[in-house]
């Protein structure tokens, strides 16, 4: 005989199951998908990207509550087109990849704001976990889709370039994140 509480759980689970499968699962097509970032150094903008990352995308604009992004980034794969900077980025002053090889972003929910979809989530970077919100632009394309995501985070919130490099008049405080994902239906 099932206890009352277990029965409640069972009912909840059976109700929730169909909803969990409402958002479609996609695989990310490489090449064509990019994960980039940009900041300023001495008043000039520079652009970088991560060569290695993985994203599990489950999304449906009509079923945001069951949508989910789960992204893992290999921080040592950051490239900005400058050998000095690329040499410094994995070091202990910046990403400290020896201690924290990966960054992880996972959504906690989605909401609408001003006609746009915002993905709220938690970013773990350099051992620090903080809420980060990203703007989502999802365009269905045949059986697949393109997904553009952008947002801004403060590098010092995560201790990236803290210490001697904390001067934001030299290295900008705000890092812009842009991702362009080409999605194929699973």
């Amino acid at each position: 005989m099932m206890s009352h509480r277990l029965r409640q759980l069972f009912v909840l689970a059976t109700l929730a199951l169909p909803f969990a499968s409402l958002a479609a699962d996609y695989s990310v097509k490489q090449p064509g998908s990019t994960l980039g970032f940009s900041d300023t150094f001495q008043g000039a903008r520079f652009d970088g990207h991560f060569a290695k990352w993985n994203a599990a995308i489950s999304y449906d604009p009509a079923h945001l509550s069951s949508s989910k992004f789960d992204v893992t980034v290999d921080l040592a794969s950051a490239k900005t087109g400058d050998s000095d900077r690329d040499g410094a980025l994995p070091g202990p002053d910046f990403f400290d990849t020896a201690k924290y090889p990966q960054a992880h972003f996972v959504t906690t929910g989605f909401h609408q704001a001003g006609g746009k979809v915002i993905a709220d989530g938690r970013l773990t970077l350099r051992g620090v976990t903080r809420p980060v919100s990203l703007t989502v632009d999802f365009k269905p394309d045949g059986s697949g889709a393109t997904l553009d995501v952008s947002g801004t985070l403060k590098r010092l919130d995560f201790g990236v370039g803290g210490g001697q490099y904390a001067d934001t008049s030299v290295i900008g405080a705000d890092v812009k994140i842009t991702a362009h994902l080409v999605l194929a239906a699973k």
């Binding site: 150094f41 008043g43 410094a88 490099y165 008049s169």
Partner: protein, 193 residues
């Protein structure tokens, strides 16, 4: 002392340009030689930024100075042998050329390396060339060798000024010193037209 030059000495503007540029070259030369040995750090970034800002300032000042020099009549040459007069003028022309060329070569080097160029964190200047790591090495060599050439020319320039002041006891240095008073010169006698 007036702003403009007169027959006997340099005016306040010419003296200001001369000494402020001399100070900039001295400081930036010493910075420049010491900073390349620094290990990568925020301090190094800031020292380089200062070197670039001072270099750009010297470039702007020397261009203004040349414009002023063209518009203002130089004092009469002190009495000296013809070859010395010729050597002095040739040295001055070479100094102007180098003081323009050295900051420009630094700007060129900075551009080839792909670094931003900012003037005292206030505004950015455009790159003179597209990024090219190989050419950057060439530009760095040009920047450094031009500096050593400048040092050689300055030895002649400063040496001549001291020689005129100490041995010839003429007005060559006095008329450029910030608060210098030129001695009554024998060349003035009966030469007031």
């Amino acid at each position: 002392m007036t702003f403009r030059n007169d027959h006997h000495q340099w005016g306040a503007v010419a003296k200001f340009f001369h000494w402020i540029i001399a100070l900039g070259i001295l400081g930036n030369g010493i910075w420049g030689l010491l900073m390349t040995g620094m290990s990568p750090s925020m301090a190094k970034i800031n020292v380089y930024a200062l070197h670039k800002s001072i270099g750009l300032t010297v470039l702007a000042l020397v261009l203004l100075r040349m414009a002023w020099r063209l518009g203002d009549r130089a004092p009469r040459d002190e009495p000296m042998p013809h070859w010395q007069r010729w050597a002095a003028h040739a040295t001055h022309v070479l100094l102007y050329v180098l003081i323009v060329a050295i900051p420009l070569s630094g700007w060129w080097f900075n551009s080839l390396h792909g670094f931003p160029l900012q003037w005292f964190k206030l505004f950015n200047l455009p790159a003179l060339a597209a990024k090219n790591e190989h050419m950057a090495h060439v530009a760095h060599a040009v920047h450094e060798y031009l500096f050593w050439l400048l040092v050689l020319v300055l030895v002649a320039h400063v040496g001549a000024a001291i020689k005129h002041h100490v041995f010839d006891r003429d007005n060559v240095l006095r008329r450029m010193l910030p608060f210098g008073r030129p001695l009554p010169s024998s060349s003035d006698q009966g030469d007031r037209s």
